[in-house]
Symmetry: C3
Subunit: 412 residues, 3 copies
């Protein structure tokens, strides 16, 4: 029995969740007058389920690798995902509510809200094991608010269309998370937390999550793309890119290891690089070889990021990125942004148009990056407040802090 208990969640989490949930219901009761489904051009159910699986199962089980943190990893991911989705559903509807006093909820708006929620799931990956569910709920709310604001700014100022602005979620989520973990730095991260380890079975659960992410990424990238034809193209290019990045990541893992072996956690971070890169540039990547070359580069970048940048961040900047979201989502996302710039310019005949596009495209990134950094910093300072009762250092990465196991079998 630990001499010092982790703080109870009772007086903070339960009221927060109940208030939020009744708020959401009341908001929808007041302002949603219509549940209207127009199914034209939206292939619906299978894509919806695929995104759902990726969000709940993929991200959830990817976070089960710490040996004593499986329930928290998968359970809190579910909690954050559904709170963020509901909040995003309301925020995304504000614009239409302002004009027509009606928010339309249909399968497409839920899918869009889920994509916004994924940006929050990426952020919480960087603070996995070091925050309690109250903090995670707050992160979800503020991150989604920032992301919706970013989308609105991009759309209003620069006329960036939804698939393009939403797909920047990889960049937004990763930078937001990086700021969080930088400011919420705990002493002791450098030596590694006592329980930040994995065993082979928890590693296999995490492998399961990784495999689900890998498998459903094509649906994820294509779900918001306009017509049927383009959507199927997006599925193909994403698949090819993912395939190439998985093979490349495997080769580089072996190359970069001193003893010539694979590292499971590294593999689980780097095999998706192609998916994130093609996701950001989904509207311009058309040729198979472009997608594959992008996947190849993304895997190299992601592996370099995992091997060198992650350690560097920890030692030089005291920034402990648990799930290495920078190398998994951030760098490939930036690469995708670059690829979109290059390809778009390549397709331009006119020099002026190309320059104009470049300026516009750089502004898009600039807004996204500065908003994610500033929102991340604000959120992190809010979370530093001890009112939220963060767990002690030795309760990091420990299910026991948040879960009770009355019938747990005792290992002899």
């Amino acid at each position: 029995m630990a001499p010092q208990y982790a703080p109870s969640l009772r007086s903070r989490l339960a009221p927060l969740l109940l208030i939020l949930q009744t708020e959401f219901i009341i908001i929808l009761l007041i302002i949603v007058h219509l549940l209207d489904l127009m199914t034209q051009g939206f292939c619906c159910l299978p894509e919806f389920q695929d995104v759902n699986v990726m969000m709940i199962l993929g991200f959830g089980f990817l976070c089960t690798f710490p040996v004593r943190y499986g329930f928290s990893g998968s359970g809190f991911n579910l909690l954050v995902a559904i709170i963020a989705t509901q909040w995003a559903l309301i925020l995304n509807g504000i614009d239409s509510w302002y004009n027509t006093k009606i928010i339309r909820i249909d399968l497409k708006s839920i899918v869009k809200a889920e994509l916004c929620a994924v940006s929050a799931l990426i952020s919480i990956g960087s603070v996995l094991g070091k925050t309690n569910p109250v903090q995670l709920t707050l992160i979800a709310l503020l991150e989604v608010t920032g992301f919706a604001l970013n989308e609105w700014l991009l759309q209003t100022l620069l006329k960036v269309q939804p698939p393009n602005s939403i797909m920047l979620l990889h960049v937004f989520g990763a930078l937001f998370g990086l700021m969080l973990t930088w400011i919420l730095y705990r002493d002791g991260s450098k030596q590694g937390f006592e329980k930040e380890k994995f065993d082979k079975k928890s590693g296999l659960f995490s492998m399961l999550g990784a495999v689900f992410l890998w498998m459903f990424w094509p649906s994820f990238n294509s779900v918001l793309v306009g017509d049927d034809q383009t959507r199927l193209e997006a599925v193909c290019t994403t698949y090819l890119s993912l395939a190439v990045s998985a093979v490349t990541a495997a080769a580089l893992a072996v190359l970069s290891s001193p003893r010539g072996k694979f590292n499971p956690i590294q593999m689980q971070s780097c095999i998706f690089a192609g998916g994130a890169a093609v996701g950001v540039s989904v509207s311009v990547v058309q040729q198979p070889w472009e997608a594959m070359a992008l996947g190849f580069t993304a895997a190299i970048l992601s592996t370099l990021g995992y091997r060198y940048l992650k350690t560097h961040l920890l030692i030089a900047f005291e920034c402990h990125d648990t799930c290495s979201v920078l190398s998994t989502h951030g760098l490939p996302g930036l690469l995708g942004w670059l690829a979109q710039l290059v390809l778009q310019i390549k397709y331009c005949d006119d020099h002026t148009v190309a320059v104009r596009f470049a300026v516009y495209h750089i502004c898009t990134l600039f807004i996204t990056v500065s908003l994610s950094l500033s929102m991340g910093i604000i959120t992190a300072f809010l979370l530093k407040w001890t009112f939220w009762r963060p767990q002690q250092n030795k309760k990091c990465f420990d299910d026991q802090a948040f879960w009770e196991f009355p019938n747990l079998v005792v290992r002899k």
Copy 2:
């Protein structure tokens, strides 16, 4: 090595299964003359696979939480599911066979049969770990017979349409299971069985099953709903209801625990409450806030049921409900029935019509409840017969009773 072996399954299970299976083939050989597929208005493959996943994987892995009962939990679930589906396929076809001497088998009839099988899967949840596969097979056959009879009665006497009558499966299955476990009560249940415990890895497998159930519930509720438009509405309302009930269940779990922590088994029982409630009332819930309010109430009811009713049932009535099917499916199902009544009356302008609907709706429930209770009692008395060779008390919740592990690694 145990001093007393569990009874061999050889002389009971193998003949039973082989006879059943050849019977099914012969029945289909004789009476099914046509495999005709009409696909109008039935979106088919994806929904079929989703229901399949929910039935085999969701329910199966939900039952893997007892630490030594993972193979039985998932394996026997598969066995029961496919026997029940085949039997339901034949029973559901009797009506059409009576008229046309032909049973039509297509994807829709298989999906319908799978939903009937789910009611059997719910029932066996209550006796999980305390029955052998011979008994489970018999439960499957009798439960599905009762359920098909109930559906036929509702349809003939009260003109209840298929989606409405089939969705009562939550109520039917839960009450049937409750009767089973009440009559098959074993001494020693009060102290808890020696092996009715879980460890963290078996708990994660169970979490996986729970997550799959949660993710595919929207498909499950919508699969039998008429046209495309309504089906997508059912997906949206189920999703919203599930989201609310998961958040509410989390808040209540923390509130109801003395030390302010989550209980994984409780979470896995209560996060679906909204799905079951909306399922029963799927034809009348249309507004998002209605679905969300229903999910909110269902989660409260389910948590109360798990925390207080379950213990009460065990102590006062000697009714040991392993998977707490009453609070997971029974209470939310009844709530859904009530919601359907209230909403339908609200939509009625005419007072007479409202009263008539209320009477009709109460009759529906009355038939379902009395049939499930009586079939459950009959089945339970049949299973008490020692001819079926139930395992000893100390072999409860133990894979070793039914599975052999020739190459099992020995823990040092």
Copy 3:
């Protein structure tokens, strides 16, 4: 710490993968000029994802049962699957490239390539745990080459249509794998490798893979079938056949065990028999009872194969078939071939046509069998070369040979 390290993968695997991957990109850069998607008659995304899930998750996690080989089982399966898919994509396009200088890549061609890759996954099942990833990559390349050659021969010489020729993958893969494991026989297989054991948790991961294979087999069998109507028929017949073979396999497992119990590994090998059998004969099985009878027979054959043939092969022929691919895929595949012959002849009115079909059908099998055996032998002799640095016997079935676990928790 082991006194003798397993050979590093650095100097062999990394260059091989990088060269292959850049080759693939260059080939596609040069010869694929078009990503054209024609979606008529191809229901696309859901089926694509189902096949994907079956290939990556089903086959991958089925191979996690050895207690220390979970990462290799699932990870190398992913690696082989994506390399084989890319290679098959190129090989399948050669024919069209020869005529039009263009290879068309769309969702259908990717699905077709995935099916070819599955034949390689079946093959590597037989050498699971006894080969390193370099060898597995070579197997993937050569097996897919052989399979594409076989398909081309069948199409050119005998005008066998794609679904029929591709579905022979079960026979091709199993025999190819058998030759591999026969020639690559290691001393010590008879006593069993030290680590070729499973524990209950690794067994449950394997159960998970098995359940996924079982659930998505209907999509797998139907994905290449022509029109919508026939595809749904294929889904129904496959489902019925799988259901019957799972029940029958359970009954026979209990019957064939001396103590009347289930054997998890045996169950995981035999419940799919009906799927493979119906897969090969998918174009002629139309009546439900035919599918069910086929499933019944396939389960019997598969169980006999698992119980008696596997041991016999090991003792008499020194052929150690780890995942028993012969009884899981080979025998049911051959049964399916026979069923196709019998049913086709039954439907023929004319005696001459029947004889002609029989000859043609026997030729089909003859070409497939001889090509798979000879390609298997050639591949195996290539792999015997110690240049590929196979692991030592005591590193068989051991993740430690290929994976590094820097943060592994130490069991006290």
